[in-house]
Symmetry: none
Subunit: 219 residues, 2 copies
DNA sequence: CCCGAACTGTCAGCTTGCCGTCAGGTTGCC
DNA sequence: GGCAACCTGACGGCAAGCTGACAGTTCGGG
């Protein structure tokens, strides 16, 4: 996932960069309208975050030019004053979503994710829960950015927990998902997989709620 | 992929020619505006690289005449001074992309590729992953520049891995791609092809992730 | 039409490392 | 304290994958 962050305020730009990176985007940034237009027109991004208040070339103008040139990547527009007027302008210029300043980074990330998922068709390739991230495209797992080698079975278990990160997943369900419902295994097989994963990932990643099931901590 | 390079400075023209060739284009060139206009108007190119500072007939004029005549091939414009003014002029004249001098050849190639990809052309003719490169035009494979002879089946396998170089490709998918899904083969057939390829390419090219699939290392 | 060469699927035997099972421990709940 | 849920280290079976050999097929040349 490649993102372009267009923001002239260096402090916000830095935060943006950090947040988007943490969310799994490869981020490039500029605070210059001309640059932004140029980059967005020549490179392929999965997401653009665009501030409207820019020097030289206004964000709205940049956006309009992109759209006029047939560039269709999802664009999330930021604006200082969240007036209804500006919002209409943004949408008409071709923005896919809209976020008034000031905003919390969490909200921006949430919207960015939704946008990418909505437009890209395929779900975001990178899923995260706390320190854990798994790349559903290259089937890889990373802990605080450091890749961790995981077997196919372990990966499927993690992916399932990630998918249902909002609740503890009971062992029966996991067994049924990992193996067929017909292909019976002892419950202990699952516990063994969990144990091996915990050894690889360290504590604080996979939690247990006795009687309910397993879950990803800090999800 | 056929490219026309319009550039009057012989030194740059030579570099252009070399770089585009290396990128898999069949290159024709001229330094004369009238020639350029004639060629672009009568021949079919997948890409035109156009310098604006030309004798006799200015690049912008050439471009405008092409467009007025309904020629729609992608045009990458080069200019000595990357001023905003000139950019606008170039874009308005119908350029698809814009590159200010001085520039690095790598950037030009990258933009040329993006342009061709964007305008519906096929992917770049030369694809690379680490030491391995394959020429999709002549169906050739090279290792650190040294050509390696591979069979048609082996080439198709490599090409598929190259196309999906960002993820491990499971054996089932490869089997389905190499043969039809109806035309069933033993899984071992694939392993045999892999083994033969590895013998030709040496270690460190085709990797295996047990349970996930095969992939190009150093991709 | 025959011969040889190149290509490729199948087979058999091997290596590797995944993971299910077992046994014994620890934790939490009643 | 006792039971059930859960954890963990060790071990061995076995499936995934590797490789060399061989044969069937195709194709071009003579």
């Amino acid at each position: 996932m490649r993102a372009l962050a267009v923001e002239d305020d260096p402090r916000i730009a830095k935060d943006l960069h950090a947040a988007l990176s943490a969310a799994g985007f490869r981020v490039e940034g500029t605070g210059d309208g001309e640059d932004a237009w140029f980059l967005g027109d020549t490179e392929d991004y999965d997401l653009v975050v665009l501030d409207l208040g820019l020097p030289k070339l206004d964000g709205l103008a940049v956006l309009k030019r992109w759209r006029a040139n047939g560039r269709s990547m999802p664009v999330l527009v930021l604006t200082a004053r969240g007036t209804w007027q500006e919002r209409v302008e943004g949408i008409e210029a071709g923005a896919d979503d809209y976020l008034p300043k000031p905003f919390r980074m969490e909200e921006l990330i949430a919207r960015a994710r939704a946008l990418v998922r909505r437009t890209g068709g395929h779900a975001a390739a990178l899923q995260e829960a706390g320190d854990l991230s798994l790349d559903t495209n290259r089937m890889g797992v990373a802990l605080r950015g450091v890749p961790v080698q995981v077997t196919a079975l372990e990966y499927r278990l993690l992916a399932y927990l990630m998918l249902h990160r909002d609740r503890p997943v009971p062992p029966t369900e996991l067994l049924e998902h990992l193996y067929g419902e017909d292909d019976a295994r002892e419950a202990n097989a699952l516990e063994a997989v969990i144990a091996r994963l915990r050894r690889k990932l360290g504590p604080g990643i996979i939690g247990t709620r006795r009687g309910f099931g397993y879950f990803l901590e800090a999800a």
